[in-house]
């Protein structure tokens, strides 16, 4: 079982690392989509099937579309990706150092905890049970999440439309 986990982890990390190292933005976005699919594979391995399908539906099916549209709508006429500006190498080095520091601290914290004593039976997550918990215990949060998504949708539309003058609607 852990062999599968290691393979999924390595593939996801590799895809994520490559995504941030590539120059063309579209390739970066598509590599990151692979990383999100890897995360969905992890959810499948852990037994949370509903979450895996939700992850694919939301991230690979929807957020990737928004990202790709934004990439296409904000292209510079000459070339793409970021061109090297002065001080970029220093910024990259500083960023990598901070990330390595955070990784070190987190790794130390994880490895300092002694592993659990007995193997735990894998929990099963039925869709009915998940729905029951959502509606029973977290109904307020569910409604708030719905309101948040609606507000975000309207806000994103307003922001992206900007104050461009609206021509009259085309005749049906």
């Amino acid at each position: 079982m852990t062999a599968v986990l290691v393979i999924v982890a390595v593939c996801t990390l590799a895809a994520a690392a490559v995504a941030f190292a590539l120059r063309p933005l579209v390739h970066s976005a598509l590599c990151l989509v692979l990383a999100w699919a890897g995360v969905a594979a992890f959810y499948l391995w852990a037994g949370a099937e509903f979450l895996a399908f939700a992850q694919v539906l939301v991230y690979v099916g929807a957020i990737s579309m928004v990202v790709l549209f934004a990439v296409l709508l904000t292209r510079r006429q000459s070339g793409e990706g970021d061109s090297r500006v002065a001080g970029a190498a220093r910024r990259v080095a500083a960023g990598l150092a901070v990330a390595a520091l955070v990784a070190g601290v987190l790794g130390r914290a994880v490895l300092a905890v002694p592993p659990a004593s007995a193997p735990v039976a894998p929990p099963t997550l039925g869709v009915r049970q998940l729905g029951g918990e959502l509606a029973d215990g977290h109904a307020a949060a569910l409604l708030a999440a719905g309101a948040l998504l609606t507000v975000a949708l309207i806000g994103a539309v307003v922001l992206a439309a900007g104050d461009a003058g609206r021509h009259g609607e085309d005749p049906p």
Binding site: M1, T2, L5, V6, A9, T12, A16, A17, F20, L25, S28, A29, V39, F42, A46, G47, A48, L51, A54, Q55, Y59, I63, V66, V67, F69, L73, T74, D82, V85, R91, V92, A94, G95, A99, A100, V102, A103, L106, G107, V110, V113, P115, A116, V120, A121, P123, L125, L130, E133, L134, H138, A141, A145, L148, L149, A152, G155, A156, L159, A160
Partner: protein
């Protein structure tokens, strides 16, 4: 090294990769993608603890992750709309140039 430790190391590494991406690249969209990756890493943590945690915790881990996915989706949409709005002003999306408060 138990499977739980492996899962936690995986999510820490993913978080670090997302952080590196958000800090190193000067492109607004890539910074947003780095933040999305960090959110995903945190979700991995939730599921790892749900899988290997104490029995009888119900579906708390997956419920958290569901809400986190929803919030991340909303944040990605609004963030990318902001990027488009910034692009309208300065014709590129280099974060280093978005330093003026009034465009």
């Amino acid at each position: 090294m138990s499977a739980l430790t492996l899962c936690l190391l995986f999510s820490s590494a993913l978080f670090a990769v997302g952080l590196a991406g958000a800090l190193c690249r000067g492109n607004a969209i890539l910074v947003l993608l780095g933040i999305e990756l960090m959110l995903n890493a945190a979700n991995l943590n939730f599921i790892a603890f749900w899988r290997y945690g104490p029995p009888g915790a119900g579906a708390t881990g997956p419920v958290f992750v569901l809400f986190a996915i929803a919030v991340a989706a909303a944040e990605a949409a609004v963030g990318l709309a902001l990027v488009i709005a910034v692009y309208r002003h300065q014709r590129n999306i280099r974060l280093a140039e978005a330093v003026r408060l009034k465009g």
